[in-house]
Symmetry: C2
Subunit: 233 residues, 2 copies
DNA sequence: CGTGACGTTGACTATTCTCAACTTTCGTGG
DNA sequence: CCACGAAAGTTGAGAATAGTCAACGTCACG
């Protein structure tokens, strides 16, 4: 239970607005629940209610299961982020840990209701949702118009920006997900992802070490590969 | 100016919660603006602020312009819907009318601020955003895992459900968008879309008449083509 | 009734997927 | 600390899907 208190405190300090009443905070605390997932552990929010999840440690994927055996990763979640998890609807969604992960789950309704007089919480929720919408739309653009090379290069940039950094060097990323998971999120196959890694390695854009360490060697080249216009244009 | 009053009244009746104070409504009314677009007319919200758009008549597309000449349609908007329009960010977004369209644009900030004591409006905004997020994620799934056939079949279902109905018969849809626009929203080329239409016509799934009238002849077959599991399974 | 935009069809090309064999990584237990 | 084995990743060859280029047909508007 200490876990929960620590987690909630962190959430309170880093996410919640500072001027919430104690009553509001208490109400939230009663409806939130902490989860400690090991790698591959998953949560299925079976009830139709939406949830928000605050990721404290680790990383997660939000996957949609389709009728067939195929799955699509809809979003990744990293520490410090507040994710929106859709309730059971047309597609079943699961939140799956990529590595050992600590998170706090809050029913959307209670986050929305917590703001009696003060709507700061509501505003927080809407901000996060708009952010997620933006990311999702960017993802649609990527899937709709970009080649395999562009997708992987863009993916590496996104991972870099979202702080999957590795301490070794400022240019080095530690990817917490497997090739299969990268493929599922980019709408590609494992083999294509692997081939793209190899080609980008041969072009001198990146270096890799082991399964998950990637060092970016040529930022400009990688940006070009991602389909971004050269700066001059 | 009568246009505006009519539009705003409709918005008030059909979307706004009934128990708003007059003050709130007045404040909203001051910040909203009505737009009357002809086919292909467009609005660019240049400022970085987000907007909501209430579509009263007609239909619109929300397109993202990429570095290259390619564009991706991120969402369509139909009458009665409240769309979220992202402000100028990484990608420039434009709202473009597919046909003559009347809409009401409201800066997101003022919709969010309108709720002093009462947060119903805020709740409305978040609901709509979550809805849009859901649609966007469904779109990602479609683009990431579905074939051309599945995409077009799914598109027809979505259009049917979102009320692009034609009065002629309950099975008939009037598509307000061109093949090029369908292609841009599905991440395909015009030719591929056209070929899929032809093949589905030959398979007896649909009939077409002119450029924009589609009649669904075999619902089950179309559902199958959309990649949905047969009901029995 | 002509004209230009829109849509269809065909032949060919390119990219990605599929299937399959092979190699590397990394956690486990000796 | 090393060796083992399962899981993960890589590479290759051939097949399939969608894209490209180009010609032709049709619709809808003046």
């Amino acid at each position: 239970m200490n876990d929960f208190i620590d987690l909630f405190d962190e959430f309170d300090r880093r996410i919640l607005p500072h001027h919430l009443t104690d009553a509001d905070i208490l109400r939230l605390r009663h409806q939130a629940f902490a989860l400690h997932l090991r790698a591959q552990g998953h949560v299925d929010f079976g009830n139709p209610e939406d949830h928000f999840a605050y990721i404290a440690k680790g990383s997660v994927k939000l996957v949609a299961y389709l009728s067939s055996s195929r799955e699509q990763i809809v979003a990744f979640g990293f520490p410090g982020e507040l994710m929106h998890i859709p309730g059971a609807g047309r597609n079943g969604f699961s939140l799956i840990a990529l590595e050992a992960t600590e998170l706090l789950a809050i029913p959307a309704a209670s986050l929305l209701a917590a703001s009696g007089k003060d709507s700061t919480l509501l505003r927080l929720a809407i901000e996060q949702t708009i952010l997620a919408l933006g990311r999702s739309r960017a993802n649609s653009i990527m899937l709709g118009t970009h080649s395999a090379r562009e997708r992987l290069a863009g993916f590496l940039f996104a991972m870099f920006e979202r702080g999957a950094r590795h301490r070794a060097s400022p240019e080095t990323i530690r990817l917490p997900m497997s090739r299969a998971e990268i493929a599922d999120s980019l709408g590609l196959t494992i083999e294509t992802v692997s081939r793209q890694f190899s080609e980008m390695r041969n072009l001198g854009l990146i270096e890799t070490s082991g399964r998950s360490i990637v060092t970016i060697r040529d930022w400009e080249g990688l940006a070009l590969a991602a389909g971004q216009m050269p700066a001059a244009a």
